[in-house]
Symmetry: C2
Subunit: 217 residues, 2 copies
């Protein structure tokens, strides 16, 4: 993610005081809109109107809707972009062997992000909200579908079958990854909570691999 | 689970009014104790003292601590007992092939229970509480560990390795099964929410099988 100061073209020390107020107003409007209308039903135009600014300014500060959502939810990464860039780098590194390593790469990437305490807190917070609030569940469901799961379905390519089959595969991956996050960080079930990331990647990577490219019948 | 009336030795119409008051007092005391002290830290003796009755009466009404917990949480089944009895029946039916079908049997059993709306509501309620309340998370964590996961570790037998290894295997199974429940019934992520139980058993059964008896390194 590009840093905030570089996107405005000013150094941190030279930033105008008015910027941060506008930025906060945009993030507050974004949180309200995403909460009330879901991820799919929210537009940058509507958030700009709520915040009383021009849509171009929202784009200038935050770029895409996914980036704005990540900033509003205080996610330290933009999940769909992260998955896409990690997979692109691994594809260059591994060449033809890439598709056979997808599962392990995905589990390692998720665990690396979650090992950063702030990141974990944000994702756990989203799971907690989704568990108890139907609006939050809808927003998370639509966000996952439009970003992370779409990125997975794209990455697996024709090995995953037709588009509907690839969406089913991505939702199976979500069931395992979300379950890993829930048992390890919310329920704190042992011994999965104290297992190393390497052990979990070895154990769970092949599951994700089979969901993406294997025989499911 | 034995029905309440048959356990007291009276027909429904002949039941004394005092029984249901006592039973309710026991269940209320159980909910408070399990909530405050967790599953492991709660004894039938302490619940009986809180309810002002003799421990023998609690045993008479509810049998084991697991049954009392299931009744207090309004679970329509006693999960550890259900898993144990389903697996015992399948072991008799399948003989030596039993261990190779464990994964599919477990996923099918879970989905069968969850297809009953009342059952689903109880389990979803426990997940929701655990997501937002540390006491509820501890109670669910200890309950899963002492009952369902212990039953799984027992069922897999020596094929699963030494006891610590079998506990790790059971916690991996929990991560997938809880993730399935969370994405299908709490998050309602598609297409996993509208997938048939047979399709999910075929897709997820081999994952559970590998976690219980396969190579994890």
């Amino acid at each position: 993610m590009t840093s905030r100061t570089s996107r405005t073209g000013r150094t941190r020390s030279g930033r105008r005081a008015g910027d941060s107020g506008t930025r906060e107003a945009i993030l507050a409007a974004a949180r309200r809109r995403f909460g009330a209308s879901g991820y799919d039903g929210t537009t940058i135009r509507a958030i700009a109107a709520d915040a009383g600014v021009d849509p171009a300014l929202v784009h200038h500060f935050h770029g895409t809707k996914e980036r704005l959502f990540a900033a509003a939810m205080q996610l330290p990464v933009v999940p769909g972009e992260l998955i896409t860039s990690v997979l692109a780098a691994e594809r260059r590194r591994l060449g033809d062997e890439f598709v056979g390593h997808l599962g392990e790469i995905i589990v390692r990437t998720v665990l690396t992000v979650w090992d950063v305490e702030d990141a974990r807190a944000s994702f756990v917070g989203m799971l907690r909200s989704a568990a108890t609030n139907e609006h939050a569940a809808r927003t998370l469901r639509e966000f996952l579908t439009s970003t992370i799961m779409a990125a997975l379905a794209q990455a697996v390519g024709p090995d995953g079958g037709e588009p509907a089959r690839r969406r089913y595969r991505a939702s199976l991956v979500a069931s395992q990854i979300i379950g890993l996050g829930f048992t390890r960080w919310v329920l704190r079930l042992e011994p999965i909570t104290s297992a190393s990331a390497a052990d979990l990647a070895a154990a769970i990577g092949p599951t994700v691999q089979r969901y993406l490219t294997g025989d499911l019948t």
